[in-house]
């Protein structure tokens, strides 16, 4: 390609997706709509998840939190909307994204060991016929160590507790060595020790300059764990830093009065 043609192509690229060129934002959603049948689960949502931060996606049951995340990743089809990752369309940035699905989404009797699952995170890197090198196996082991599961490498995954299963999923995401980590309810149904282990790993990722986005359901831990919140109830309600956005007013708007008075008072307590 000649230099002129390249320049034109670059300009075309800018013209086609202005948002992409405008930012290096880890994850930008524009006008995402997902519908089951003719009832939108997520309607025309815009979002920009910041770098060097941990963002919680918050909303009541059925508000489309997980659906939005899955639609952004292309796990489920979306009716409309564009997704860009670090300023380029998501298809060009798959290697920079690590996803941790809900634990309940897989069959834990599947014939695979802990280390095999973690190595799945390396599959794109090794390709179809490449061999998993010793260095890669060592890397997978190290990821297991980071979530405190090094001793479990050769267990069949069905023998793990719920919290341990969640740690394995996190280790698999770590093995991808990505820049953007998307987690779907990582703390759902795990023990306290696992919750602490996971949050430590996530905070370390953040301090290493990675972006972390998690669907989260426990309002009482939002202030301790996250810097940024995204409130959703089918539509986007609010988005911003925890201090300014995680307010009673916004929560009321999100949950539509479904949060009891006692629950709100508790959160106020946490706030003050």
């Amino acid at each position: 390609m000649t230099r002129v043609a390249a320049t034109i192509a670059a300009q075309d690229g800018r013209a086609i997706s202005p948002a992409a060129a405008a930012s290096d934002c880890p994850l930008t959603l524009q006008g995402i709509t997902v519908s089951y049948g003719e009832k939108p689960a997520v309607f025309s949502v815009d979002a920009a998840f910041p770098a060097n931060a941990m963002t919680a996606i918050i909303g009541p049951n059925g508000a489309g939190k997980s659906t939005m995340l899955k639609a952004a990743l292309g796990v489920i089809p979306r009716l409309s909307g564009e997704v860009s990752v670090f300023g380029v369309p998501i298809e060009q940035a798959r290697d920079r994204i690590a996803y941790v699905p809900q634990r309940a989404s897989v069959d834990w009797d599947f014939p695979t060991t802990v280390i095999d699952v973690v190595q799945m995170g390396l599959y794109r890197k090794v390709g179809l016929i490449g061999r998993l090198s010793g260095a890669m196996t060592a890397q997978a082991k190290e990821c297991l160590d980071r979530v405190g599961m090094a001793d479990f490498a050769h267990r069949q995954i069905g023998q793990l507790s719920g919290g341990q299963q969640q740690r394995v999923f996190l280790a698999r995401a770590l093995a991808q060595d990505a820049d953007l980590y998307l987690l779907d309810e990582p703390f759902a149904g795990v023990d306290a020790a696992t919750e602490r282990a996971i949050i430590d790993v996530l905070k370390l990722l953040k301090s290493n300059g990675k972006a972390v986005v998690a669907v989260h359901h426990d309002l009482s831990t939002v202030r301790d764990y996250f810097d940024h919140v995204f409130l959703i109830n089918v539509r986007r309600v609010a988005e911003g830093p925890v201090e300014t956005t995680f307010t009673t007013e916004n929560l009321n708007a999100t949950y539509g009065g479904r949060l009891g008075a006692t629950h709100m008072a508790e959160l106020e307590g946490v706030a003050s």
């Binding site: 699905p101 897989v106 069959d107 695979t112 699952v117 799945m120 599959y123």
Partner: protein, 405 residues
């Protein structure tokens, strides 16, 4: 028996040897390429695909005859069967994805409709002037009588390609079978990989059609991976073990049917696979039924023994007959129920371990260690001896059981 050995050693004649080798290769290909469909929990799709081959066989025959060729040309018949099998596959996939019907409903509908159409076509062919000696009903249950070298070559080449494709795509297929959401998030095209899994199985079905028949080929795709699952906890090994199970049942089944007159090859092969399955179901280590029963009994004994010892240490009466028998057998109590010296010593140890655990929970806030308390695991397996000494220091001197020691 001698004739079976002859057949196994390929000494039972050219045709028998050809059939045994062909069936062995087919079994290997079917077992290994059926594995991922089984792991994806869509094994029955292969049954619908197999039944959907029949109209293709009929249509191909009619077309070839009407064009003046030999209607029994194997390649032509297999191509025809592949076309309708693919159509059936696409319809199932479409119904499951685009309508509110579940996949099992789609499988049932496609299987029945295509098979019905196929039977109608075969009946029409019977009435055609050139159809009398067609022998197409051999595709239903398989036939080995007129197996040609060319047929074995088709199986060898097609089977090798299927095994190679399974090996090549093992990583994407493992990902999709285990965690399709994660695979999609990584950028894999899940739908295409699903179609590939089904396409592989369809290819094996088509090449195995003449030997095993469309009704029973599904057994060769499903039974070997199910059997292999008993022997390993790693999907990569399931593929190869399933291949070996399939290959062995194909080879031995063909040899067995060759050694007895008028034994149908396809059904014997399937029964051979079922026998290996049954053996694995019962005797496989860890996952087998026998192992599970033994494990359960051992566990039950450990529980009873522990409870009995705790009762002794608390000087409570033991009422359960099983516990008493167990303790007596181990020389821990006398026939009249009074603890022996050994029984007292072990009861003291068990009761001390209980109190050590109480201390351990205070000292070690780490739930990873104290979470391993189940009342059965010996404390020595969880804590080091110096840690246990520390617990003992806090507990004070040992207390004798029953005040007798």
């Amino acid at each position: 028996m001698n004739s079976f050995l002859d057949a196994l050693l390929l000494n039972a004649g050219y045709n028998a040897a050809l059939v045994a080798i062909g069936a062995g290769l087919l079994g290997f290909a079917a077992g290994s390429s059926g594995t991922f469909l089984f792991l994806r929990k869509r094994a029955l799709v292969s049954d619908a695909t197999a039944h959907a081959t029949l109209p293709g066989v009929g249509i191909a025959f009619i077309i070839m005859v009407s064009m003046g060729y030999d209607g029994r040309n194997l390649i032509g018949l297999l191509l025809g069967s592949a076309v309708t099998a693919a159509i059936g596959l696409v319809i199932i996939e479409w119904i499951a994805r685009r309508t509110r019907l579940a996949e099992d409903a789609a499988i049932g509908a496609v299987l029945g409709t295509f098979f019905g159409l196929g039977i109608v076509l075969l009946t029409i062919i019977q009435t055609m002037s050139s159809g009398r000696q067609a022998g197409l009903e051999g595709f239903l249950l398989g036939s080995t009588a007129g197996m040609l070298f060319q047929d074995a070559v088709v199986i060898a080449i097609g089977g090798s390609l299927a095994v190679f494709a399974t090996w090549l795509m093992r990583r994407p297929m493992t990902l999709v079978a285990f965690d399709a959401e994660y695979a999609a998030a990584m950028g894999y095209n899940v739908r295409r990989i699903d179609l590939l899994m089904m396409g592989l199985v369809m290819a094996v079905t088509v090449i195995g059609l003449k030997l095993v028949g469309l009704i029973l080929i599904v057994a060769m795709l499903i039974i070997p991976p199910v059997t292999a699952r008993f022997w390993t906890d790693r999907s990569g090994r399931v593929v190869w073990i399933a291949g070996v199970v399939g290959g062995a049942s194909g080879y031995m089944g063909a040899a067995l049917s060759a050694s007895a007159s008028a034994m149908p090859t396809g059904p014997i092969i399937v029964l051979m696979a079922a026998a290996i399955f049954l053996f694995s179901l019962i005797f496989a280590p860890v996952r087998g039924v026998a192992a599970a029963v033994i494990r359960h009994h051992r566990f039950q004994r450990r529980v009873h023994r522990r409870q009995g010892l705790l009762s002794l240490s608390r000087e409570e009466p033991i009422r359960e007959k099983f516990t008493l028998r167990l303790l007596e057998r181990d020389g821990l109590i006398r026939p009249d129920g009074v603890p022996t010296d050994k029984g007292r010593a072990q009861a003291a140890k068990v009761s001390r371990d209980e109190r050590r655990w109480d201390v351990a929970r205070e000292v070690h806030q780490d739930a990873g260690l104290t979470g391993r308390y189940d009342g059965l695991t010996p404390i020595e397996e969880v804590f080091t001896s110096d840690e246990i000494q520390e617990f003992d220091r806090r507990l004070g001197p040992p207390v004798a059981v029953g005040g007798l020691a």
